[in-house]
């Protein structure tokens, strides 16, 4: 789950990281009032969960409250990479001397958190990694011990930070680590951490990703979820305990197991079709869950055929068949459906579906080919 800039910075501030004293506005009028209170030049920043806001015109520096109101009006009407801008952050404009990157993420391969710093801050860190890899300093953190003081010194020395800033940098690194750890983050990033013209360190942009597996024990963070991050169908699926990701193809898929669901999308593509979604009904899904899944798939008007690929282990073929039949009683549809059932209780499932006017297949390859054909016939 992604957190907005203003939520991330608020969390960082709770752990002692200095951030600008800005506020959120939902209307141009609010933006003007905040700018007036702050006084002087401000920066108006679109709050959307995608990168590249600046390039898209979603960040503007202005000199007066009136200009802030106008800028907010413009930005609040924007769509950035398909996401509507519903809020803007009004921060005081800062005189910047230099920009640092500071972040913590998980190094999967090392199975440890890694803290990353670079003197080339303010730009996409992946770009720096590609063009100037020597400018990126990485320090692994032992997950049992946590961030140590020498870890921080290694970073400060690595980026050739002026010694006058070491104490402030230490506080910020400690704070960022605590924010990362206590929020169950998979990423906690300050980019840029600026050295101001007044020679102070300040986190002027922040980003956090929260581990979806840990949301259950982070009730405060769970409330910060931005529903724009997922489509309404995806939200509905999540609430039904299904993993659903909408794509733009024409063949809807219902599969048990994440790996098999991916393989099903792949094989549809291999035989000339395009998958309309990823959908994992999970292990041991019952009829009710299957019906909910089918409703979600058929809401997508691009869907011209549906492919069911169920390999029964804990999931039982007859339960899936009952779910399909139950869903079809409540949804009127003429979308052709291809069913492949294998494994536990597959024969019973196939018998239940025998009268349902569905196309059946024995193998995954056969099922995919039939689904592609059925979709093309429409």
């Amino acid at each position: 789950m992604k957190l907005h800039e203003f939520d991330s910075k608020k969390i960082f501030a709770q752990y002692g990281v200095p951030v600008p004293k800005g506020k959120i506005a939902k209307t141009p009028k609010e933006a003007g009032e905040i700018a007036k209170k702050l006084g002087g030049a401000v920066v108006v920043k679109a709050q959307v969960l995608v990168g590249g806001r600046g390039k898209a015109g979603g960040v503007k520096v202005v000199k007066t409250a009136k200009q802030a109101q106008d800028a907010a009006k413009q930005i609040l009407g924007m769509d950035i990479k398909g996401l509507p801008v519903r809020k803007v952050l009004i921060d005081p404009a800062i005189g910047i001397a230099s920009e640092i990157y500071l972040g913590i993420t998980n190094d999967r391969a090392a199975r440890q958190p890694v803290m990353i710093a670079s003197a080339a801050g303010g730009v996409d860190i992946e770009e720096v990694a590609a063009t100037n890899p020597e400018k990126i300093i990485r320090v692994h953190v032992n997950p049992l011990l946590g961030l140590q003081d020498y870890n921080i010194r290694d970073l400060a020395v690595g980026i050739e930070l002026d010694r006058n800033h070491w104490a402030a940098f230490h506080t910020i690194c400690k704070g960022l680590w605590e924010a990362y750890k206590n929020s169950d983050a998979t990423l906690a990033e300050i980019n840029p951490l600026v050295i101001t013209k007044d020679n102070e360190l300040l986190a002027i942009d922040g980003k956090m990703l929260i581990d979806d597996n840990a949301i259950f024990r982070q009730p405060k963070l769970a409330k910060l979820r931005d529903m724009d991050e997922e489509t309404p169908a995806e939200t509905q699926a999540r609430k039904s305990g299904l993993t659903y990701i909408q794509l733009d193809g024409e063949i809807g898929c219902m599969v048990n197991g994440a790996g098999l669901a991916m393989a099903t999308m792949d094989i549809i593509k291999l035989f000339g079709g395009e998958p309309a979604n990823f959908l994992d009904i999970g292990g041991g899904a019952n009829a009710e869950k299957v019906a909910a899944a089918l409703r979600i798939i058929l809401q997508d008007k691009n869907v011209k055929a549906v492919l069911f690929n169920i390999f029964g282990g804990i999931t039982r073929g007859d339960e899936v068949a009952k779910g399909i039949l139950a869903a079809l009683k409540t949804i009127k549809t003429d979308v052709p459906m291809v069913v492949r059932l294998a494994g536990t209780n597959a024969a019973e499932g196939r018998a239940l579906l025998a009268d349902a006017n569905m196309i059946t297949a024995e193998t995954l390859a056969e099922a995919a080919q039939k689904a592609v054909q059925a979709a093309k016939g429409r």
Partner: protein
């Protein structure tokens, strides 16, 4: 014997009194697995599964009483990290954790601790392991597989069943099948299992099922090209997956330029692995 477990492996099940715990322990007993005990704090002294399996309050007590060398964990996710640490301290050799949804930072701490103790972990978020004809620890459907000379290692549960089933259709069987799980931080990884298969006299060929996310397949490719003499057939799921989206498994996500399927397929191909377009092609490619 299999690379990790055989008919003599003695298993305690942490979480045996839950619905899932009872159901899968029953299946394991039917398969021939030595389920010698279960653990459920607060229910020590009871017996489950028609009085065949004693329940203990802690893994330590269970191990002392039964001589178990393996623990299978099927507990609610909030208890899973604690369960793994407890099993490690109780002195088992191997932990198989089936529980899905464990927070990543917990897994980093657990894995670091288990490494310090020298305890092997399979999973979490995995279907476990199967040594056909001898033992199954987890929920890989036993009737889909026959004993044979093919080692199978996979990040995906259902794709594992799919492969075993396809092999069985043509009379091919598996020496050991290991579902290593779909989480980004886990226990034994491709490289560890590949090394075991390379050294295992009962394994002649290997099937490796990977998916998008991380770089474990690339690392495996490097290992294969340097150290493996046995032929490997591979499959990578997720070529049609969009970047930036988590495809069901916590670890299955293309992040920035890393973790894409095409890179993995290229690395494996370069290492001499034949990579299938879809799982049903695998039996033919092994012939």
């Amino acid at each position: 014997m299999g690379i990790l477990a055989d008919k003599n492996t003695r298993v305690v099940v942490q979480g045996i009194t839950g619905n899932e715990g009872l159901f899968h322990s029953q299946r394991m007993l039917e398969y021939g697995t030595q389920v010698v005990g279960g653990v459920r704090p607060g229910k020590g002294g009871e017996w489950v599964l028609d009085g065949k399996v004693p329940v203990f309050d802690s893994v330590k007590v269970a191990v002392d009483a039964t001589g178990a060398d393996c623990s299978m964990i099927i507990v609610p996710l909030a208890a899973a990290a604690d369960a793994m640490l407890e099993a490690a301290d109780a002195g088992v050799r191997l932990i198989v954790c089936l529980t899905e949804g464990i927070p990543l930072q917990d897994m980093m701490r657990v894995r670091a601790y288990l490494d310090s103790k020298g305890v092997l972990l399979i999973g979490p978020n995995c279907p476990g392991l199967l040594t056909p004809g001898q033992t199954k620890i987890g929920f890989i459907p036993g009737d889909n597989a026959i004993p044979g000379n093919i080692g199978v290692v996979s990040r995906s549960g259902t794709l594992t069943y799919e492969v075993l089933y396809a092999l069985k259709q043509v009379g091919m069987g598996s020496s050991t099948t290991v579902g290593i799980g779909g989480d980004p931080v886990k226990g034994l990884n491709f490289i560890d299992i590949l090394q075991m298969f390379e050294e295992d006299p009962l394994t002649d060929k290997v099937v490796m099922i990977g998916e998008i996310g991380g770089s474990d397949e690339e690392k495996a490719a490097e290992y294969i090209s340097k150290h493996m003499t046995k032929p490997v057939v591979g499959f990578i799921a997720g070529r049609a997956a969009p970047p930036g989206k988590r495809m069901g498994h916590a670890g299955a996500i293309v992040e920035g330029s890393a973790g894409g399927a095409e890179d993995k397929i290229a690395a494996l191909t370069k290492a001499g692995v034949r990579v299938a377009d879809y799982p049903e092609q695998i039996p033919d490619m092994l012939k």
